[in-house]
């Protein structure tokens, strides 16, 4: 293992702990959220940060084929956001 490889691996391994800690803090807001839009905000931020975390993990596993998962996860989290926004708005404006 060259010096560059061990340097990158150690740095990204330290990075992972901060990501996991912030995921747990987002989950506190998601379980505690008083209204529906608060929970939507929490799961939105959780999904986008999970996409960035999957990119970092696919560098760390040295397996570049894992990268399309991040793109797909981003697009479907956005779709969930739009569904709930349409539901909340149709109740006031009538379909």
């Amino acid at each position: 293992m060259s010096f560059l490889e061990s340097w990158i691996t150690n740095f990204l391994t330290i990075t992972m702990f901060f990501y996991i800690a912030s995921f747990l803090l987002y989950l506190v807001r998601l379980f505690k959220g008083p209204t529906i839009p608060d929970m939507i905000l929490a799961i939105d931020a959780l999904g986008y940060d999970l996409a960035a975390f999957l990119i970092i993990l696919s560098i760390l596993f040295k397996n570049p084929v894992l990268i399309p998962c991040a793109i797909v996860l981003t697009l479907w989290i956005y779709a969930l956001d739009i569904y709930v926004a349409k539901y909340l708005e149709a109740k006031e404006m009538g379909e």
């Binding site: 912030s22 803090l25 209204t35 939105d44 960035a52 040295k62 991040a70 956005y78």
Partner: protein, 128 residues
């Protein structure tokens, strides 16, 4: 020797971007708990999606481009990371606007420390 220097430059710049992104992510997770109501938490969502996801994705793309131990497929990884960063950059802002507009129209979240509501005053309703 030249490629070694270019690789180290790409890796160090990418690591700086990833460190900035991790800091923004942690701050956004703390602010998501501490902020008082929904309309202020939108600010925490924007910190979390732009600072916490776009910046580390670009940094990860630079790290992947500068690490030759990943083989020839590292350009695939760098391109995928850049596409993900572009998607989050567009869709994060669009989703935040959509959920904020729907919440304001449907009055789904109350805002307790309310000082001014100029949109309601413009529409002829009573603000605050």
């Amino acid at each position: 020797m030249d490629t070694e220097l270019i690789n180290w430059t790409l890796v160090v710049v990418g690591q700086i971007l990833v460190a900035v992104g991790v800091f923004c992510d942690f701050v956004a997770a703390l602010l998501m708990i501490r902020f008082p109501n929904f309309y202020v938490r939108l600010h925490a969502l924007t910190i979390g999606s732009i600072g916490g996801a776009v910046v580390p994705a670009i940094g990860a793309a630079l790290i992947a481009a500068g690490s030759p131990f990943l083989g020839m497929y590292r350009w695939f990884l760098a391109g995928g990371a850049l596409v993900t960063a572009l998607f989050i950059f567009i869709l994060g802002g669009a989703g935040a606007h959509a959920i904020a507009r729907a919440t304001y129209r449907a009055k789904a979240a109350e805002y307790r420390p309310c000082y001014v509501d100029q949109l309601a005053e413009d529409r002829g309703e009573v603000g605050c």
